[in-house]
């Protein structure tokens, strides 16, 4: 079957999709967007977390056909997503400067040393970004609860907590300046 939906602001189309394929498979293998990761394919690890019409979901549990006509945001689109949310002007696709910019939560993960093997990182970034959007100053318990669906095997989560705290603190500083 053919499926058409919007990913990171751009319309994508895929043909000859087998009906049993997941949104995750279509993103990774048909649309050239392998950022969302395939760690468990059973909704237990969160490494494939994307926003589906704004809601964080496991892309492995969305049938490809269910994404028809919907809007998907993946880790690849986080910088642009964050910029728009902050009120930034729209930029042309392929704008090198825009592409080079990282979203605040991506930068915080790098700066806090929250990335080791990195396989859990894309899903955590999408989940953490949504948390800070919803709750700009989360408590540690809030962070732990919001990220409890994202498994990480390398870091013991300590630096992931640091990264989310850092991203929230930086966002707070920015707001105070404004």
């Amino acid at each position: 079957m053919r499926v058409t939906f919007t990913v990171n602001g751009r319309q994508h189309e895929a043909d000859d999709v087998w009906e049993g394929e997941s949104l995750l498979y279509v993103l990774r293998e048909r649309m050239g967007l392998p950022g969302s990761k395939n760690a468990c394919e059973q909704g237990e690890c969160g490494s494939c977390t994307v926003r589906l019409d704004g809601t964080p979901v496991c892309a492995c549990l969305v049938a490809a056909g269910q994404a028809e006509g919907r809007e998907v945001t993946t880790v690849e689109g986080l910088p642009e997503f964050a910029r728009r949310r902050a009120g930034g002007a729209e930029r042309a696709a392929g704008d090198a400067e825009a592409a080079a910019e990282l979203s605040p939560v991506q930068q915080a993960f790098i700066d806090a040393g929250a990335v080791q093997c990195g396989f859990c990182t894309p899903g955590l970034l999408v989940a953490a970004d949504e948390l800070i959007e919803r709750k700009p100053q989360p408590s540690d318990a809030d962070i732990r609860e919001a990220l409890s669906g994202n498994l990480c095997r390398c870091t013991g989560y300590e630096k992931i907590l640091d990264a989310v705290r850092l991203a929230a603190a930086r966002a707070d500083e920015t707001r105070e300046v404004v």
């Binding site: 990761k37 760690a39 394919e41 690849e76 080791q116 609860e145 992931i160």
Partner: protein
């Protein structure tokens, strides 16, 4: 790519860092792959993609032990979209087996399957679903055979011998052919020491089968080349070990199998053995098309080896004043159907069986069995993890019998530099065991009853059971426990352990740039970060490029045994020194006449310049280099070790030891047996923190894997079948299960090691588990002799 006309769309890229990222040895430099990993651009092995690629799929045995009576692939081959179906009969070379240490593992089962999930046939098709459907049409007739699944069935008089034609070097030493390897360690006069003992405790302990549970599934892409060879992009821990096993089975010389490390989503030992490597190559060579294979999580549980489950019997004795007299122990490890790393695991379990304590009289025996259970092999801390759980339980038991504080009892018997291991080996670098224990104990305890809130209603997230809302404080008891462990670093027992590095220094865009090329597998630990730091420190440059790891440079050895910073870090430093000497030589030759210091002073490379030790600038590096790069390649070896004596276990078997201690604070719902770990403090000596943040990250991660083994992680095997091959029922800690992990890092240099560093990755995995168990015992008063501890054990 040499020999290949086809390059996949996504391949591992060079990791370059400009002036934005800095830092030499000892700085917390940022990862050179951090941005790629945070943007989703980093090319992991499952992300490899090629225009006209096929998908490979593996048909696996549903039986744990069976004869293959017949295989019919006709219907599968006839299915539209199927390009190849391969079985044992299609293997192209004389060599049809592979293995990490012993070549005992069939590439595809021929005649017999020895464990559930053993690969029987391969399919290549145009879509994963096509491949799966075709595999389902392969008709395999099995005749089930009697199971060997524990020590009793393995060593019974009429036990089926799983590998009847053994010719490996352990075969001659073992008392039964179903024993892979057995290592006794005998030292002193145990009978006399036992007679001296005033208090003796004994116990039998069990460790369940833990899984590495790396998140990136086994995967890769094999691309056939025009020269008849193959290019393989794969996630592994040791490219050259893979190569050594792959090439003979393909019937190709090693130079026709070109391997590139694709992005690795964690490893922890589980990628030391081959998984889909040979299979993808076979299918690619047969179909002449690129073949991608990706296991799902279910298959992954059958696609790699696990941590050896173990039964450990211990006897410890002490005099009334709390001095250890002797240790007797017997450790039985279940190696499963194939050897994998079992011999090395036996070596580690036996040589670390006494722990970091001074005890001159020991009788130790460790062995690994061949059974029809899932094959077991390398996992973080192997051998030493199992032993540590048992000897630390014994130390607590003995302290209790003696009426001593468990930390003081340990400190009294703690080994220090100059003491001997049970192998007779003198520990010839710092061994701050007592100090590590002192540090974790001295920390203030976390506040009690953190679930209480101002509003009155409890925050269940801070209670055992968490969001499941099982207690609002009822039945909750706090406990505190301690443990300390010792783990060897690098490969041991006489193995020729080396790593190779190639370093190139050249002028690019008017700036000196160093390129580091090794075959070391970056599995997340941050090797690429440290290699860049070493190059900056040794060559005085800012810009460093890390070349993708591949087999076009010599072996780096495995990313395991806490060895890669020591070994490949050591190799990078050594080769940087060669490059530096060449720079100085060239400088003297070209510019020596301009300044006498070229000949007389001690020269250094700093800030992109050649300077004297007095700080005088002699020349910018770009002037010395001109347009002619300096490149060097060489191997680095640690000091040699020797094999342990097969009868007494004596010998200088290990090159370095690493120590860590933990204090666990837990809260247990004593009525439901649910555990919340509140804090897991660690103190570890790392010799030299090459990258302090990365070291702490390793300690956090290792500690958490130890916590997982303590309270939840186990592959449950019944009658040689896995009951829980999924992330629904094989549970690893979530962020809500993981406590704060304060870390205290000591840096007591080991004079034998590069920069004085001590391998850091594994030690924290050891003591974490027994510390948590000790804390649960303290809270509940239960003996708890098995990990993972389950709620029913706590309430029993």
């Amino acid at each position: 790519m040499a020999g290949s006309t086809r390059v996949p769309t996504r391949t591992p890229s060079q990791l370059s860092q400009g002036a934005a990222v800095s830092g030499g040895v000892g700085d917390s430099s940022l990862r050179p792959d951090g941005v790629l990993k945070a943007t989703g651009e980093f090319a992991y092995s499952s992300d490899m993609w090629h225009e006209d690629m096929l998908w490979g799929f593996t048909l696996r045995s549903p039986h744990a032990h069976a004869e293959i009576v017949s295989v019919d692939v006709g219907e599968a081959l006839a299915q539209a979209g199927v390009y190849a179906v391969l079985t044992h009969d299609d293997l192209p070379a004389e060599v049809k087996k592979y293995g990490l240490e012993l070549r005992d593992t069939p590439v595809l089962a021929g005649g017999k399957v020895r464990h559930q999930g053993e690969p029987v046939a391969l399919v290549a098709a145009d879509h994963p679903e096509t491949a799966r459907r075709a595999a389902a049409k392969i008709k395999v007739e099995y005749r089930e055979l009697p199971l060997v699944h524990d020590e009793a069935t393995a060593l019974a008089a009429d036990a089926p011998v799983l590998h009847p034609d053994r010719d490996d070097h352990h075969a001659a030493h073992v008392p039964h052919p179903n024993i892979v390897h057995r290592q006794p360690i005998v030292r002193g006069d145990v009978a006399a020491a036992a007679a001296r003992a005033e208090v003796v405790v004994s116990g039998e302990y069990e460790v369940g089968m833990q899984d590495q549970a790396f998140l990136g599934p086994e995967s890769g892409l094999a691309v056939p080349a025009e020269d008849g060879g193959v290019d393989l992009y794969v996630a592994t821990q040791w490219l050259h070990s893979d190569l050594r096993q792959i090439a003979p089975v393909l019937g190709l010389p090693e130079d026709k199998v070109r391997m590139t490390l694709a992005g690795v989503g964690g490893a922890f030992g589980g990628r030391e053995d081959l998984s889909m490597q040979i299979h993808a190559c076979l299918l690619a060579l047969r179909t002449r098309k690129p073949v991608k294979m990706v296991y799902n999580r279910f298959e992954s549980f059958f696609g790699h080896v696990h941590r050896h489950p173990a039964t450990l019997w211990y006897e410890h004795g002490a005099t009334r004043d709390g001095t250890l007299t002797h240790i007797r122990c017997r450790i039985v490890l279940d190696g499963g159907a194939y050897a994998s790393a079992s011999p090395a695991v036996v070596g580690n379990a036996s040589s670390h069986a006494a722990g970091p304590y001074v005890v001159d009289d020991v009788e130790i025996e460790a062995l690994a069995l061949y059974t029809n259970n899932p094959p077991c092999g390398a996992m973080r801390g192997f051998g030493a993890v199992q032993a540590c759980f048992a000897y630390e339980a014994q130390m607590d038991k003995l302290a209790a019998e003696l009426g001593m504080d468990p930390v003081e009892f340990r400190r009294k018997n703690a080994m220090s530099q100059g003491d001997r291991m049970p192998t007779g080996q003198v520990v010839d670098s710092p061994a701050p065991v007592a100090e590590l224990l002192r540090r974790v104990k001295a920390r203030p305890l976390p506040p009690e009853r953190q679930w209480e809130t101002l509003g009155g209603a409890p925050d269940v997230r801070a209670l055992p059971g968490g969001l499941s809302n099982t207690t609002h404080g009822e039945g909750v008891v706090r406990g505190v426990g301690y443990a300390v462990g010792v783990k060897n670093v690098c490969f041991s027992e006489g193995f020729d352990d080396y790593s190779t590095a190639r370093v190139r220094l050249e002028v690019i865009g008017g700036e000196p740039v160093a390129t580091v090329h090794t075959a070391a597998a970056e599995v997340g630990q941050g090797g690429v970060t440290v290699h860049a730091q070493i190059a900056r420190t040794e060559l005085g440059v800012t810009r460093v490029t890390i070349h993708p790891a591949d087999t076009r440079v010599g072996s780096a050895g495995s990313t395991s045994a806490s060895r890669q910073t020591y070994m490949t870090g050591g190799a990078v430093r050594h080769v940087c020194e060669l490059v530096r000497e060449e720079v100085f030589r060239r400088g003297r030759e070209r510019l020596g006449t301009y300044h006498p210091a070229w000949a007389t002073a001690e020269l250094l490379l700093e800030g992109g310049k050649v300077v004297t030790d007095a700080g005088e600038v002699l020349a910018p590096l770009v002037d010395v280099l001109g347009d002619e790069p300096v490149e060097a390649v060489d191997e680095f070896r640690h000091r040699p070790t020797v094999a342990l004596d097969p009868a007494t276990g004596q010998g200088f078997g290990h090159v370095q030891f690493s120590f860590a201690a933990h204090r666990a604070v837990v809260e247990v719902d004593t009525e439901l047996g649910l555990v919340k770990v509140i804090e897991l403090a660690c103190a570890q000596d790392v010799g030299k923190a090459m990258n302090p943040d990365a070291v702490v990250g390793q300690i956090h991660g290792g500690t958490t894997q130890g916590l997982g083994l303590a309270v939840m992680e186990e592959i449950v095997v019944e009658n040689a079948k896995v009951r829980n091959p999924s992330f629904t029922d094989y549970l690893i800690p979530t962020i809500l299960d993981t406590p704060t992990i304060p870390v205290d890092v000591l840096e007591l240099a080991d004079e034998h090691a590069p920069y004085g560093l001590r391998g850091a990755g594994e030690a924290p995995t050891l003591s974490s588990t027994p510390a948590v168990l000790a804390a649960i015992r303290a809270a509940t008063g239960k003996a708890l002799k098995r990990v993972p501890v389950r709620p029913e054990h706590i309430v029993a």
